[in-house]
Amino acid sequence: MSRRWWLGIVWLVVLLSYVLPYTLLREVHAWYGSFLLWSVAGVLVIVCNLFATVGFKDDAP
């Protein structure tokens, strides 16, 4: 998959990080609510960047 695709997932994760905590998880008062969602979002951002930058060699991205 291309760099654009992986970064697209990052932007989707960002969008969901805005929407879900203020809607679906608004009344979930436990660690498995917004805390878990944002923690998983952080991991996904790392994974997406890992793949998005695979082509960063010495000459060209």
């Binding site: 805005y18 608004r26 609510g33 805390f35 944002w38 979002a41 960063f56």
Partner: protein, 483 residues
């Protein structure tokens, strides 16, 4: 904890820091590229650690923990959205890196000045960076002063803490320029992460583990685990905080300048991924620290007291408390010295050199070196004075710096972007943000943090459409794309 314990730990930190700074002189070359960019030969690991230490300041274990104390889990969301924004490095990093090498750019403002064929653009970006970042550095210094004073029961006065941090920042940036900054940053990053993990694990273990921590929060303070929760993190507030910070990796020159320094794109990748790993752990730790403070020291008058109060509690052994204080000081110093070196390079390269066309590199370097202590002393004076204006400027820093983003994006992606458009967005957007902050921080109920970027983008587009783009835009964009 006693002042003697803090002094002894500080002395060890100071001695090791100076030694590392001194050792970093090996291979140092005394020209602009050598002093400010490490000859563009920095390795991936040092770049990653230094980028982390520069980005993460005293804000994390004091401010973010305080934000968690005050507003609950929304603080994690705020920081994770900032964190996701660093992915912009995957898009813009290689472009900065390529044009930096091709045109020998030292500063991001010099790059914009070239792309828009305008000295005015370079000068405007450099001056607006000084305007917002010096107060930001001052607040970091003040943070160290308050922390030292609070945690030692005023045995180490505010001024002593502030002066100490200033001296360290000047020493670390002056020994070998960016090389000594990056090597001491790396040391400080390790200290920051190891001690904060250790201290937080100790406190949470003492409370009965993560299960107990979250169980107690869900029982006694359930609103802390959701947004808007107790009300602080309204959606509008959340947007106002996160939008400017999302663009931090582009808008803040002390980090965007780092994109010129890695020895290769592979090293740039290591810098990005290393930072993300560091940042994720440090973010979670700072938020958990804030949650622990909610349980251990509830009902404090101010959220700023959360970390000092937790450090002074029975849950933190004095030795760990002392080390955490030094680590927080390290976090502040590693941010301030990077700001010093970046602002000095911008002043000498973009302001001084543009106003003195005959100045050679040697002269510019001398000016840069002389400016470092001047900026540091300005920040020190601001920290001491505690003027209201400084507080406004530091709060406005992220919103004020973000107005440069349309000109950066346009530089790489929009041929028609013109110098007049860039100037209008940077000056017009900056003035707009300052006016809104002076009026209380919002306009028609919308925070300045939300408004600044669209206003700057609108000005950039509108003015560019009616003015002529420079001929060299094409070549610049081709160079940025060329792989």
């Amino acid at each position: 904890m006693s002042a003697a314990q803090v002094w002894a730990t500080l002395a060890i930190y100071f001695a090791i820091g100076v030694l590392v700074a001194w050792l970093s002189r090996r291979g140092h070359r005394a020209d602009m590229s050598g002093y400010f960019l490490g000859q563009r030969r920095m390795g991936g690991l040092v770049s990653a650690l230094s980028y982390s230490a520069t980005t993460y300041s005293a804000f994390m274990m004091v401010g973010l923990a305080g934000l968690t104390y005050m507003g609950g889990v929304g603080a994690l969301g705020f920081e994770i959205i900032y964190f996701a924004g660093v992915s912009l490095v995957a898009i813009f990093g290689p472009r900065f890196w390529r044009v930096g090498r091709a045109y020998d750019f030292i500063t991001p403002s010099e790059m914009l000045g070239h792309r828009y064929a305008s000295r005015g653009v370079a000068i405007a970006v450099a001056l607006s960076s000084c305007l917002f970042l010096i107060p930001y550095a001052a607040v970091q210094l003040a943070g160290v002063g308050y922390l030292m004073e609070g945690a030692t029961g005023e045995a180490i006065p505010f001024t002593t803490g502030v002066v100490l941090a200033t001296v360290l920042a000047i020493v670390f940036s002056n020994v070998a320029g960016i090389r000594s900054v990056m090597w001491t940053d790396s040391l400080q990053a390790v200290v920051m992460i190891v001690t904060s993990v250790l201290a937080t694990a100790w406190v949470i273990h003492g409370l009965g583990g993560l299960d107990t921590l979250f169980g107690e929060l869900a029982r006694a303070q359930p609103q802390a685990l959701a947004v808007p929760g107790e009300g602080f993190f309204s959606f509008k507030m959340f947007l106002g905080l996160t939008i400017p910070w999302f663009f931090f990796s582009l808008s803040n020159p002390q980090v965007s300048q780092r994109l010129y320094m890695p020895s290769s794109l592979r090293a740039l990748r290591q810098m990005l991924l290393g930072f993300l790993a560091f940042g994720f752990v440090y973010t979670l730790i700072s938020v958990l620290w804030g949650f622990a403070a909610r349980i251990v020291v509830p009902d404090l008058a101010s959220a700023d007291l959360a970390t000092p109060a937790l450090l002074a509690s029975v849950h933190v052994p004095p030795l760990i408390g002392v080390i955490v204080i030094v680590a927080i000081m390290a976090a502040a110093v590693s941010t301030i010295d990077s700001i010093l070196i970046t602002l000095a390079s911008m002043f000498s390269r973009d302001v001084y050199a543009n106003l003195h066309a005959a100045s050679d590199e040697k002269r510019q370097l001398l000016v840069g070196k002389l400016v470092i202590p001047v900026i540091a002393l300005l920040a020190l004076a601001f920290a001491q004075l505690q003027l209201n204006l400084i507080a406004v400027l530091s709060v406005a820093a992220s919103s004020g710096l973000v107005v440069v983003v349309p000109a950066i994006v346009g530089a790489f992606y929009w041929r028609r972007g013109s110098a007049a458009g860039a100037l209008a967005s940077i000056i017009g957007g900056g003035v707009f943000v300052l006016v809104v902050y002076a009026m209380g921080g919002s306009l028609w109920g919308i925070p300045a943090g939300i408004l600044g970027l669209p206003v700057a983008a609108f000005l950039f587009l509108l003015v560019s459409l009616f003015t002529r783009a420079p001929a060299q835009a094409e070549a610049f964009m081709r160079t940025a794309e060329a792989g």
